[in-house]
Symmetry: C2
Subunit: 357 residues, 2 copies
């Protein structure tokens, strides 16, 4: 364990430092990367707005905690670059995901494609322009996340161990998105499929890989990696299950996301799969008629919510979250983790599983 | 100069070897990257089809020639990985570009988004599905191009000199695409803008950066880099100008691209800018009415072509190509280049400037 670790870890201070690295990078990107001083500056301005909007920064935080858990030490500069890189990669994933989900808002603001469309409303076909500019914006985010990693000054040993994990993380989340896309549209009772998408898109991508990346930056600690997985995978499932509940029952003023999107797109969530499986024939017909309708209104959404409630699906998902949250916390009871790190990971677990936004 | 260089360089043999590296990577991608053996395998199959479709492979070839020009030697394994990485990056750029340009075909086959849409025609909103899957496919290509570079075994020195060039290349092409997107829609007489987009999107991205990357893999050769630029920048402009001509006057059976796309999208080419500038008021009104219309038919396209011809814009572009082609060739008359390499670069110049596809 790092000796300069304070008795408690101030997650907000870590987050602020990540934001400082991000802001600095975006203000002075490396040569060739579009900058705010370019002729239009539009892409970089949009990326800066998106990346620096308030967020949980959960991936950078986990990466930093993994590094501390493994003993920290040398290479702290690389750590901050990598933490920032994970956040910019996440911006990429969100920007493209919002296009695919046709989400109008993100973090309480217009999503990237909507913001571009609004700015070019006077032009021809502003909506298509918005989508196209947002595709490029997401691409730029991915390129920037590489540029941050490329400047991280990794040693040869670190390159050989860290970069394959990073590639795997990226591949997994794309596969998860693709499976998600294939499954979206119509409610089915396929709980396993919904759970396996949650594992790829969230459990591995959001929790396990960032922790592993931080650990691996220091060195290979097989037991610690296993401990991280034992914490990360149930927590990541809990995180996604909470997301699914918030996507239907959440308060848009807190989540920053409209509460009809998941129902309108017919997202293949565990919540919906459980409800479909438990529904009476009549309830099932209602779900099949309403879920996945792009023009679903508030009244019909209320009907769907009642079915999710009456079938017990909502409660069942709460139970799944509680069970997984418990398993994640139990994994932290280990001599391998210094108490301040375990405490910080508990804090993150609470934010992920119990949050309202 | 590399001593094991044959008296003449067989570009087709180099291309075949690049394809072998690409095929091997796609058959056995690193852990975590979607593979053909995944549950759906759909993304990787589509990427394999796209990447291995016949193409010029001009960027890998230039990278390899740059490496030879700088003396080659050690690190040949890295060279092939990097050459392949450039091609996969290009697949990324094309896949997203085809979405943005709404291009139905590429390399004589349906473009990625159209192919996905066709495969899912039975599902709801197949066209949107196709676009969304193709966004993910492009993303996967970009991630794969990173994975190829990450496995290239670069030394610390190489990482420090090569990766910033790679980041710059990526940033430049995205900025070029963005400017292109902003300029597309309505014909203007802005020749400078069209030319500066061509520089970013093509001259630097397609010719200069790949050559520089190959050179830099071996070491910093300031004079050689300058020579490469003197060859690359005019040639790249010629390449784009040829593309613009083929986009309007080309034979779709040779180019693999429909000949109405550029006119329908209102692409801001030097060709169109020159025509707009030289047009009579009546011709200009015709251009403004027709160019950029999504439903432009063959008859109206013929009217536009006649204007491009009668204003002399077409001939002017041919002259620009000839002038730039000549400058590119002149740059090769240097003691810095071994004769076989100069010969290969001349061959590539001819393919770029004089091609019909």
């Amino acid at each position: 364990m790092s000796t300069d670790l304070a008795p408690t870890i101030d997650l907000d201070a870590l987050r602020d430092r990540v934001d400082t690295v991000l802001a600095e990078f975006l203000r002075h990107p490396p040569a060739g990367i579009p900058s705010q001083r370019d002729r239009t500056g539009e892409l970089t301005h949009a990326l800066t707005d998106f990346v620096l909007a308030p967020g949980k920064r959960i991936r950078p935080l986990l990466c930093i905690l993994g590094w501390h858990a493994a003993g920290g030490g040398d290479g702290e500069e690389s750590l901050w670059q990598m933490a920032a890189s994970l956040e910019v990669f996440h911006a990429f994933a969100l920007i493209h995901d919002d296009i695919i989900d046709n989400s109008p808002t993100r973090r309480g603001r217009p999503s990237a494609h909507r913001a571009f469309a609004a700015r070019h409303r006077a032009g021809p076909d502003a909506d298509a322009f918005g989508v196209h500019a947002a595709i490029l914006l997401g691409d730029l985010a991915l390129v920037c996340s590489d540029a941050l990693m490329n400047a991280a000054g990794l040693s040869t040993r670190q390159r050989q161990t860290v970069l394959p994990l990073l590639d795997a993380m990226r591949g997994e989340v794309l596969l998860g998105q693709h499976l998600d896309l294939l499954a979206t549209g119509r409610p089915t009772g396929d709980v396993d499929e919904a759970m396996s998408i949650a594992r790829l898109k969230t459990a591995k991508y959001t929790i396990e890989r960032p922790l592993h990346l931080g650990v691996t930056l220091v060195g290979a600690h097989r037991d610690l990696l296993a401990l991280c997985s034992a914490y990360a995978l149930p927590l990541g499932e809990a995180f996604q299950l909470r997301d699914d509940l918030l996507g239907v029952f959440g308060d848009p003023s807190l989540t920053g996301k409209p509460v009809l999107d998941d129902l309108r797109s017919g997202k293949a969530t565990v919540l919906m799969a459980l409800a479909t499986r438990r529904a009476t024939p009549e309830q099932r017909r209602t779900l099949e008629t309403l879920v996945g309708r792009a023009d679903l209104g508030e009244e019909d959404a209320a009907r769907v919510r009642r079915i999710l409630q009456h079938t017990g699906a909502r409660d069942a998902v709460e139970s799944l979250i509680t069970e997984r949250y418990g398993r994640a916390l139990a994994a932290l009871d280990s001599d391998l983790l210094a108490p301040p790190i375990a405490a910080a990971l508990r804090q993150i677990a609470a934010r992920a599983a119990i949050r309202t936004a």
